[in-house]
Symmetry: C2
Subunit: 197 residues, 2 copies
C-alpha cells in the first residue's frame, strides 16, 4: 500500500513535470499574442539564418487579397549595413544591439488590381505574423515605420537597393531581448459594438 | 516489484496522456500561423459571445503606431442583419452559414498624426490577430474586403450605423468550419533578399 502511494505520487509528479514543461514555453497562440511587445532592449546577440527564414516563412503564411502575395522581404545582419540604416531612422531605438532587421516590402504592381492599398494591407498582415513568430521563438521584435514617410522610404531604398516601385513598409528589429520590455493590456470593452455601432 | 512495475507503467501512461492531450490541439503559434486558411464553408453553428470577446481581445493586443489604438469592432450575430450585410457584399461567400461577423474599423481621427495610412495598418494588424485567434480556437475565419471599395464601405456603414469618419476595413466571417477549406503553402524562397535587394 505504501509502495502504491509512493508510485502514485511519482505518477502525479511525472505528470506535473510534463505540464510544467509545457507551461515553461508559453507558445500557445493566445499567450504569444498577449505577450508580444515592442522590444527596444536587446542583448546584442546574433539571430541565425535558420531562425530568420522560419520567421519570414510565417510572414508568407498571411492572407493576401485574391492570393496575390505582393510582398518581398529584405534581411540585414551585417553591422555596417545596420548602422547605415540607423543613420536615417532616428526612431530605430535598439537597432545598435539588435541581431538583424527584416524589411517587409509591398509591391503594388503585384497586388490585386495593382492597388497600393491592398499591397500595404497584405504586407502589414505578413508583418504581424513576423512579430508573433519572433515572440513565439523567445526573441524580441519591434516595427519601425518606414512607410508612409517619404524621407525614410527613400533612405531604406538607397541603403538596400530596393526599386522605386516597391514600398519598404517597415524595418522590423529582431534580436534577443534583455527582458526589460513588457506587454501592455490594451483591451477596452467600449471599443466593441455588439449588433450595431 | 510487480506493483512498482505497474505503477511505473501507470506513470508513463499518465505522462503520455498529458502529452497526447497537448498534441491533439496544435495550438502552438507556428502551427496556427501555417494552418490558418480562408474558410468559406461553415456548418451553420453559432459562435458564443464569450468566444467572440476572446477573439477581439486578441485583436486589441496588436501593436499600433505610437500606441494610439485607432480602432473599433462591430460584432453581428443576428441572422437578419447578416443577410442585410450580405446583400451588398457579393464576395462574402459563406456568410449564410457563418455564426458571426466582426467588422474591424479604422479611425483616422484617433491615429498617429491623424493619418489614414496608420489607421488602416493598425486595423489590419488587429485583423490578422483576429484571424489567428479564430484558427487557434478551432473556428474558421475569412476576411471579406470592405475598404478600399467606396460602395461596400457605404453599404456596411449604412447597415450598421458606422459614422462616416470611421473606415470599415473588412467584414471577417467567423464560424464552425466544415473542414473543406485547406491552408496553402505560400513560401517562396526567391521573395527573400539576404543582405540587400
Amino acid at each position: 500500500m505504501r509502495i502504491m502511494y509512493i508510485c502514485c505520487m511519482a505518477s502525479l509528479l511525472l505528470a506535473g513535470s510534463v505540464s510544467a514543461k509545457v507551461a515553461e514555453i508559453p507558445n500557445d497562440t493566445f499567450s504569444v499574442i498577449h505577450s508580444r511587445k515592442s522590444v527596444k532592449s536587446f542583448s546584442g546577440a546574433t539571430v541565425s539564418t535558420e531562425n530568420l527564414d522560419k520567421i519570414i516563412r510565417a510572414g508568407m503564411a498571411a492572407p493576401t487579397a485574391v492570393n496575390k502575395q505582393p510582398w518581398s522581404f529584405v534581411v540585414v545582419t551585417d553591422r555596417k549595413k545596420l548602422d547605415a540604416l540607423a543613420a536615417g531612422l532616428p526612431n530605430a531605438r535598439g537597432i545598435d544591439r539588435a541581431g538583424a532587421v527584416i524589411i517587409v516590402c509591398a509591391a503594388p504592381e503585384q497586388a490585386h488590381m495593382q492597388s497600393k492599398d491592398f499591397a500595404i494591407i497584405d504586407a502589414a498582415l505578413a508583418s504581424e505574423n513576423i512579430l508573433l513568430a519572433i515572440e513565439a521563438m523567445g526573441l524580441g521584435g519591434h516595427w519601425i515605420a518606414s512607410y508612409p514617410y517619404e524621407d525614410k522610404m527613400k533612405h531604406v531604398r538607397t541603403v538596400l537597393g530596393i526599386p522605386f516601385s516597391v514600398i519598404p513598409l517597415n524595418v522590423i528589429l529582431v534580436g534577443v531581448p534583455t527582458g526589460e520590455d513588457k506587454p501592455k493590456d490594451k483591451y477596452q470593452k467600449d471599443k466593441i459594438h455588439w449588433g450595431k455601432w
